[in-house]
């Protein structure tokens, strides 16, 4: 069984693993590197629970081949908090009770981070359409959208 040896960077750290060619990045992150923060909700790119950043671009890691990570930068939920300090999105999700079961939360936080990195002052509608690929069945989205808008305001204050 020929396996591929993939060297990549995950959350700023060098990482390597062996994987089968048809294995997707989500499986490699979870089963090869033990980073179980990204979740499989559907395996077909329809739920967003597996969202990661690939070279800064928001992607569904279930529809990326693990081999494609070679020489690329992968950011997962485990890399959002820096040095043990929660990112403002993580803090606001807690303060706004923007999660219940929490299975979709990693995907939402990575996706919201990708949004705020690009658009520091999004409208409610822009947030809702950007996050339309992240399914949540517990919250009805209300508190999630408020947490993201509040995070944007907080980040703008820090820059101002």
């Amino acid at each position: 069984m020929s396996r591929l040896h993939v060297e990549t960077t995950v959350n700023g750290e060098a990482a390597e693993f062996l994987c089968e060619a048809q294995e997707n990045l989500l499986t490699a992150l979870r089963d090869r590197l033990g980073l179980t923060g990204s979740k499989e909700g559907c395996g077909t790119g329809d739920c967003g629970a597996c969202s990661v950043l690939l070279d800064g671009r928001l992607v569904p890691s279930c529809l990326v081949l693990a081999a494609e990570a070679r020489d690329r930068q992968v950011t997962t939920i485990e890399g959002v908090a820096e040095g043990g300090k929660l990112h403002v999105l993580q803090q606001k999700f807690l303060e706004h009770a923007a999660l219940q079961c929490g299975i979709c939360t990693p995907g939402f936080i990575v996706a919201a981070k990708a949004l705020l990195d690009r658009n520091p002052d999004p409208s409610e509608e822009e947030v809702r359409y950007w996050l339309a690929g992240n399914l949540c069945r517990c919250t009805g989205y209300d508190k999630i959208i408020r947490a993201v808008l509040d995070s944007a305001a907080e980040l703008r204050k820090e820059i101002a």
Partner: protein, 760 residues
């Protein structure tokens, strides 16, 4: 201390920690990805299991040849129906007493495949890829039978019979005793229909239909099972009830309960769909054969094709009303499509449909009907949404015809304390009128509407369960505390439990560590479901904390050398009798001396709580409809609900908003679609259309608090009612926006356009 509990004392009104919004203790792990769910767990030497599912909706299984699969390199075990004996045991399964024969038959078929996707075999191998390849080598010979795919064909004379031995439970007197697809029937009756309809000035009769829909939890079912050589079994799984998994696996596999330990992972959503078992007994059986731990994780397609949807329904309803708006009579005949095995929706639909209104004369008859579709499971107030949707639609039509405000019309007929529920007993204190009044005074109700917009209002009801709960509160030497219960926490109940302990012991919420125990570390606890955790388990937590307080007073008495009864407790400290000139001893001081005053302090409580006091909700929905394409958008939504007492308001709001979104999805776009062969056509999140973030506005919430006397804080269950009103609220908004009374859900663009064209 265990008791059949029914305190009638006045619920407490002023609180220090209850009613606040602390950050949930399990939050940081969830926002950083550290929280472990069903599929996030591995054991040394673990192998991977997959199942083989029937490609036919109705077929006899003639033979299963597993030799080639078993010979494949890496394959460690293959099981079929022969490996799990059929059985008849009765075990309490979230849904009241579940018949274990159906549950085990649904986990692994014996002789007959009853729906497309029904499990017929399972295989475990070193890698998932090998297991999937081996599964394709298992040769199953079927004899295809004609599938039964809708209510009409299921109950037609001469219909193919799914279960030959089955007779209708609760069938009408004199009904023939022969094979049938009607699994069960429930009847409720009061007064005389004839007199009721004779007295009516206005009568409306219609037929309503809803489709099977899925709970839609984002986390697929997953478990890891290890069968040790000495017969001890360890199961890690995502479930709403570790004790129910243990009980069901013990019954299905014929094992002692004491041999099985179940650890509930963090649960990625359940809504009732994880109150039963699917993979767990298969993983244990595979592990027993392979003598290695086995991990099984469902794909989304498997979850949709083969795990519990809620029943589809057909409701024929006729209601009579006087000119002044008073209801005089109602006749309701319901058929619930319960999939390949008997469901329980006939009971809850019968009990819920007229639950909110005073109706002197009614006849309710509801049936569970078998079809070759996946076995239904509980889905948030199971039965209530499809039972109340027809009633709330008719009331809206009556209001239009009488020119009355639809909320006033409901206030005129709303039940209150002392009224007899349709299922018999008198209601205790309930908040339906207060919820209606709050809806009427809400700015949303009087806000102006734009063109092509309509506003709908509808009510919802649910019993809320009591059942059994246990709790342990331990005090630490530094005065902090921990609380352990057996209820997996989806909606924030750990935070609420910490608030209750903080309230009883007067220590900050952050100094209380709430956790979910496995089946070895806390007393038996019924399922997380039935909106019961904050109510029943909450009561056990409060009593366990009271038990700690009692022990602290006893320790203080020992220090002061007085009788324990002489010591009183208030403001977080033990107070000496007036006769003794001693400073009160604080919890912190007493905790520090535990070792010297008698050892660790452990507060324990377990109870069997009565049903928790029904809760009502009212929703207001504004819908904008594109009349050229039939596409509609919810542009404003308000949910109002009686919580009795909101222990953690953010998470009560969360239940209200989440339930509204599920109800809106059910009303607008969600449905199971089957082809002519009985194969689900839309078994993916692409075509099983749940609401996405851009589909919904903010969902405003109003929490009404009419205390429930059976709980020391007045708490009522809140988790299930939220999904009941939206079906009626959205449908009534659609009727107001389009002038067409739609009676079949979902209100997809296609159906709306057809309705508009028909109206001309």
């Amino acid at each position: 201390m265990s008791a059949l509990l029914k305190p009638r004392s006045e619920p407490r009104r002023n609180f220090k920690y209850v009613g606040q919004r602390p950050i949930r203790h399990d939050g940081p792990d969830k926002v950083t990805g550290r929280a472990n769910y069903g599929a996030d767990f591995t054991l040394p030497g673990m192998i991977h299991g997959v199942v083989v599912r029937s490609p036919h909706a109705h077929a006899r299984i003639l033979s299963i040849d597993t030799r080639e699969a078993e010979a494949m390199p890496g394959v460690k075990a293959v099981i079929t129906g022969a490996d799990i004996a059929q059985n008849r045991a009765q075990v309490s399964m979230g849904e009241g007493s579940g018949d274990m024969h159906d549950v085990s038959e649904n986990c692994l078929a014996h002789g007959k495949a009853l729906y497309h996707g029904h499990v017929v075999a399972a295989v475990a191998a070193m890698t998932l890829t090998q297991a999937q390849a081996a599964a394709r080598l298992i040769k199953v010979q079927y004899e295809k039978l004609k599938p039964v795919l809708d209510i009409e064909s299921a109950i037609a004379p001469g219909a193919p019979i799914l279960h030959d031995h089955l007779r209708t439970e609760g069938r009408a007197a004199g009904a023939p005793d022969r094979p049938t697809n009607i699994a069960a029937r429930a009847v409720l009756e009061r007064g005389s229909l004839e007199q009721g309809f004779a007295a009516a000035d206005l009568v409306i009769e219609r037929e309503f239909r809803t489709r099977m829909v899925h709970q839609g939890y984002i986390e697929p079912h997953a478990c890891v099972a290890r069968y040790s050589p000495d017969g001890q079994v360890f199961i890690w799984c995502t479930t709403q009830g570790p004790f129910q998994v243990r009980g069901a696996c013990a019954a299905v596999l014929g094992m002692d309960l004491g041999r099985i330990k179940v650890v509930a992972s963090e649960i990625g959503g359940g809504f009732g769909g994880k109150t039963t078992i699917y993979l767990e007994p298969l993983a244990v059986a595979l592990s027993r054969k392979a003598s290695l731990p086995v991990k099984m994780v469902m794909t989304r397609e498997e979850v949709l094709r083969a795990t519990g949807p809620t029943p589809g329904s057909r409701t024929r309803i006729k209601m009579g009303m006087k000119k002044d708006g008073r209801l005089t009579a109602a006749s309701v005949t319901m058929h619930c499509e319960s999939g390949a095995f008997a469901g329980l929706a006939h009971r809850s639909t019968a009990m819920c449909c007229l639950s909110a209104y005073r109706i002197p004369n009614f006849f309710i008859e509801s049936h569970s009907v078998l079809t070759n579709k996946p076995k239904v499971a509980a889905y948030r107030a199971p039965g209530a949404p499809m039972a109340m949707f027809p009633v709330e639609s008719l009331l809206d039509e009556f209001a239009q015809k009488l020119g009355m405000d639809p909320i006033d019309l409901r206030l005129l007929n709303a039940v209150e304390e002392g009224d007899a529920a349709p299922y018999g007993p008198k209601y205790g204190p309930i908040g339906y009128r207060e919820t209606l009044q709050a809806a009427k005074s809400h700015p949303h109700w009087s806000a102006p509407l734009k063109p092509n917009q309509g506003r709908g209002v509808a009510a919802g009801f649910w019993f809320n369960a009591g059942l059994n709960s246990s709790a342990v509160v331990t005090l630490d030497a530094d005065g902090s505390a921990a609380v352990v219960t057996g209820n997996p926490d989806i909606g924030g109940t750990r935070a609420a439990q910490a608030q209750m302990v903080a309230e009883e012991l007067d220590i900050p919420v952050e100094r209380v560590r709430p956790s979910v125990g496995d089946t070895d570390s806390v007393g038996y606890t019924d399922v997380t479901g039935g909106s019961r955790v904050c109510f029943a388990t909450g009561m056990a937590v409060i009593q366990a904390a009271e038990d700690v307080r009692r022990q602290l007073c006893a320790r203080a008495a020992k220090i002061w050398n007085v009788e324990a009864e002489a010591v009183t407790w208030s403001e977080g400290a033990a107070h000496p009798p007036a006769s003794l000139d001693k400073k009160p001893l604080s919890l912190k001081e007493l905790a520090a001396q535990m070792a010297r005053t008698g050892g660790p302090i452990i507060g324990r409580a377990s109870l069997s709580a009565p049903a928790a006091g029904p809760a009502f909700a009212v929703n207001i929905c504004d819908l904008e409809v594109d009349k050229e394409t039939g596409v509609s958008r919810v542009v404003r939504y308000t949910a109002i609900q009686d919580a009795g007492k909101a222990v953690h308001p953010s998470y009560v709001e969360g239940q209200m908003q989440g339930g509204a979104a599920q109800g809106i999805g059910w009303a607008l776009n969600e449905e199971y679609r089957f082809d002519a062969e009985g194969k689900m056509e839309n078994a993916s999140f692409l075509d099983y259309r749940m609401p996405v973030a851009s589909d919904l506005p903010m969902i405003d919430t109003v929490i009404v608090e009419v205390p429930n006397p059976t709980h020391p804080y007045g708490v009522r269950g809140v988790g299930e009612v939220p999904i009941v009103p939206p079906l009626g609220a959205v449908a009534n908004a659609m009727a107001r926006a389009t002038g067409v009374r739609f009676t079949e859900l979902p209100l997809s663009p296609m159906r709306v356009l057809e309705g508009l064209d028909a109206k001309g």
